[in-house]
Symmetry: C2
Subunit: 458 residues, 2 copies
């Protein structure tokens, strides 16, 4: 097939790989720059990942937190969106190789492909304990959570029924805390009147965390508040607990010298991430240094050493030039990095230098249940309902930039007052497909079939 | 496994199979009747099928038009919802056999399992031309429609590009008209600024109808208005056209003596339906008469001849006692039949007879695009914007009974003013799974794996 990039212009060509927070904000910030921009993503939408757990737990629909990249960028006349997958790069020839088209030449390359789940060398746990990165992951979690109650209603053996009503979340970071809180609310509130043969308030929700407290990067005060709120919702919080095995609908864990096994139908993974495929490619082609989880260690301007035209931003980047630890893999960091790189590139075209990247941490937050949160704004800390209000406005502020997100706010208000969960459809097992990679007829094949098998299910 | 129906009561047991409009309204109407009700469905939600085309065309999310059956019926303390599939019945022993549990005994049985697509003996067309009955069907249609534009943006061969931008809808009933109108709006309005290498307003949308006008059961005036509105949106309407073959992304059709073939990447089937599996079961076990498409011919009280305790309602029923033709397979008929049968059963318990079923037709309606419709209210006919307003209120009236459907109204208003289509996510090929029927571990297997392979895809 011929290269479709036939619109010849003399403008520098910026190629951005990945339409998450980092890549999208880089593209948005280049709107009026004297460059031609190509944004490549294997999916046709940007996903507002901080709210993905609400899709997994039946509060929102996928479309509520996803916007087509083409729509967000339709007014950017210098920008083309390509639905494709980068398979390799040649940083010396300045070329990006794609799965479905001829290679693209770039003047600047921005890689923002993020991370996927990491099972610490136990990839066989994936089947039993899916993680939460994609829309399909979220629908699979939703399917498992709500199917568990249905199966429990059918089950007459008390032991099996208890396993069906046991939900384990591995990992006490924000995602784990948010998932555990939401599942507790489902079991103890949302579905409690819906079954006839089971009492869903008897469901057991356990949150495992290896460190000595949940939300380890947060101030201790937040961790304590979060644990209290979770316990009030009915979550059993087990800290200093290492999961040593997951198999056959059970979790084996060690606490000090004791090792125990608990039966659970639903096990959700929120414990670790690993850099995406592009990290390896960059390391091979540019000799860039990778950290322990495969993230690319970047220079103070987010470029790769010896390759000033190749930038890595967002969760895939390890930016070690500020504080003791690299910047965390959260949306605000990715957005600021995207904006910084866009500005650097636009300035470089006109021969102006910019200062090294620096990030002003605005704080962190996590939600616990439908109307509680913990928020650390550095200068002040909040918990409970006030924290939740802050959380809502912080999220609405970013969501509002996209097209139809007013709906989300109304949906939240509605759910808040009705205690409802409208999106609790059990649909078909969405993750299996990713494993199968069906042969596709001709080149009109779907981009989805090339999706990496990030989540596989029994 | 033991029968879970262990709550012994002396109340008559009404078993309802299917949670569509017929079955759900039967269950709802039995709320205060002195009976025990069991509603069996293989899915955990009721689907508001008249709006399914809006999911297929990216206006609504599945959860917007689906409500969990347990939620709708949670206040019905005499009612249990079972997620299961009926595999057989014994009308003499009054037993219903289930896939995952012991058989249930019934005092009255209401069968409301509806219809699925019918390819008039050409089941091999299914792959190329999926139909629209389930949530998965709708997501598959959505995936095909939006993937076609993406593939066209990549394609450089003009002939192949044109095939990718050709959309064919087979069948000019309400669903076909609604689909064709929506696709024309997508191509000519929603996505027209989103691509750089294709002009989506060049897309060709063709509607094929075998009869001499679209919407054949409607008054001729409505058909004429509908065709005009469709043509204004950019749909090519081809009546008196018989599709003779669908294969390899092309449709062969006959008009009079002429036979032609048109290449099209996206072909959607809205032409025929066939009774579901339960029709055959009933015919075998009760000797009930089936009509040409497998629907069960019922008595004037909707029961089966010689089996006064077995009722068939909704799309699966052929009720020939009123007018020249059997009642049409539409939601209002199913709802009225459900209410009638519920009342009959409740009255029979106390020894009171009821009159034969009769249906007062309130009219028919179909939507063309985002703000036009045709409405036939028997006493008056409307088309255009006024008809659309009538259509909106008629649908909101029924939707409002479910939980979170206020959202739908707001979403419509939003879409109407912004011309937006928020739900145009391309997600994984959802229909393949149905074909595969993966082996499921143990009995906690998902109910979805037993779904009939109603839609298969390449």
């Amino acid at each position: 097939m011929k290269n479709t990039q036939t619109k010849q212009t003399d403008l520098p060509h910026v190629v951005i790989v990945g339409g998450g927070f980092g890549g999208l904000y880089a593209a948005k910030s280049l709107k009026d720059a004297p460059v031609k921009v190509t944004l490549i993503d294997k999916r046709n939408f940007h996903l507002f990942q901080p709210l993905l757990y609400q899709v997994a737990t039946g509060t929102l629909s996928p479309a509520d937190i996803a916007s087509p990249l083409r729509v967000i960028l339709s007014k950017h006349k210098n920008t083309q969106v390509l639905l494709d997958k980068v398979v390799d790069i040649d940083p010396d020839a300045k070329k990006v190789y794609l799965e479905e088209r001829e290679a693209l030449n770039y003047d600047a390359l921005v890689v923002a492909t993020g991370v996927s789940h990491h099972y610490f060398g136990n990839d066989q746990w994936q089947n039993d304990a899916p993680g939460l990165k994609t829309v399909e992951d979220a629908l699979e979690m939703r399917r498992r959570i709500f199917t568990a109650f249905e199966a429990a209603e059918k089950e007459t053996n008390p032991e099996k029924r208890q396993a069906l009503l046991t939900f384990i979340v591995v990992g006490g970071g924000p995602t784990g805390v948010e998932l555990a809180g939401a599942i507790a609310e489902i079991a103890h509130q949302s579905v409690k009147d819906d079954f006839r043969d089971i009492d869903t308030t008897q469901a057991k929700i356990v949150l495992f965390e290896g460190m000595e407290r949940i939300l380890p990067p947060y101030p201790e005060e937040c961790s304590v508040q979060a644990q209290k709120s979770l316990e009030k919702l009915g979550v059993e919080v087990q800290t200093k607990t290492l999961v040593t095995n997951i198999a056959d609908h059970s979790v084996t864990y060690r606490q000090g010298e004791t090792t125990e096994t608990i039966k659970a139908h639903t096990i959700l993974w929120a414990a670790g991430v690993r850099a995406s495929f592009m990290g390896k490619v960059l390391a091979e082609r540019t000799k860039a240094e990778l950290d322990r989880v495969g993230r690319v260690v970047v220079e103070s301007d987010l470029s790769i050493k010896d390759y000033p035209d190749v930038f890595v931003i967002g969760d895939l980047a390890n930016f070690p030039h500020q504080g003791e630890r690299p910047l965390p893999g959260v949306a605000p960091v990715a957005m600021k990095e995207g904006e910084y790189v866009a500005n650097l590139i636009a300035k470089r075209v006109i021969g102006v230098k910019v200062k090294p990247f620096s990030y002003q941490d605005l704080g962190s937050m996590a939600v616990i249940g439908q109307n509680k949160a913990v928020v650390d704004l550095n200068f002040a800390r909040f918990s409970g309902f006030i924290a939740w209000i802050i959380w809502v406005f912080a999220h609405i502020y970013y969501l509002i930039e996209f097209d139809n997100k007013l709906i989300v706010m109304i949906q939240w208000a509605w759910n808040y007052f009705t205690q409802g969960r409208g999106a609790r459809l059990i649909t078909i097992n969405t993750s299996l497909q990713l494993e199968i990679n069906p042969p596709q007829p001709g080149k009109e094949s779907t981009p989805q079939s090339k999706q990496e098998p990030v989540s596989v299910s029994a």
